[in-house]
Symmetry: C2
Subunit: 121 residues, 2 copies
């Protein structure tokens, strides 16, 4: 068993590209991923799973077709499965995502934003 704590700032310092989630840990069949969000993402949904956003730094807005939620550092939100959403950050937000292994960042909406999956840092 690895006895090293996972330090979010140390891990975030290892990559700069926005919208490219990096896996930092697995719990059972779930993954914890760090990501830098900046500007507008694409509308998408995950048909089979909820998705957790935990904001570590900065501010994040998650748009829905009928509203939005605003998140600051120290706040989390669970996007229910099947619900269309579009993350947006004015500036840069550093975010911890939690979702099952194998979930693609753009869900049902493949685009230039679709990141390679299961990349660890």
């Amino acid at each position: 068993m690895n006895r090293q704590a996972i330090n979010f700032q140390q891990k975030l310092a290892l990559f700069a590209e926005p919208w490219q989630p990096r896996v930092v840990a697995e719990m059972n069949d779930y993954q914890f991923k760090l990501v830098r969000l900046a500007g507008d993402f694409v509308w998408h949904a995950h048909a089979d799973t909820d998705e957790v956003f935990i904001v570590l730094e900065g501010r994040l807005r998650i748009d829905f077709r009928d509203g939005a939620v605003e998140l600051a550092a120290g706040e989390m939100f669970v996007v229910p499965k099947g619900v269309e959403h579009k993350p947006f950050a004015d500036g840069e937000a550093k975010v911890l995502l939690v979702e099952p292994r194998g979930v693609v960042n753009t869900g049902d909406a493949a685009s230039e934003r679709t990141a390679r999956n299961d990349v660890w840092v």
Copy 2:
């Protein structure tokens, strides 16, 4: 769908007792729980699941039978299923736990530390 961000500090302000996890969110069949840790917990293991500790404030040590890991704020650790562990905080640590719904805090070691499960805040 609830459109409210979950603010960890606001939720933590609603209870003071240590070692009493409070559920703040569910993702699929997993729960996110806030807990205040202070002093020594009991040795225990969870036979069926890994367990995630994310430190929000303070410092946490997790003892194992053959070592320990030290966690500061902004750090996480995954205790693998079946591995005996004993959390310890010198002072108070505020921690976010992630584990499947139904996991009891003392695992296989019922004691005076065993908390009522599935209590939301």
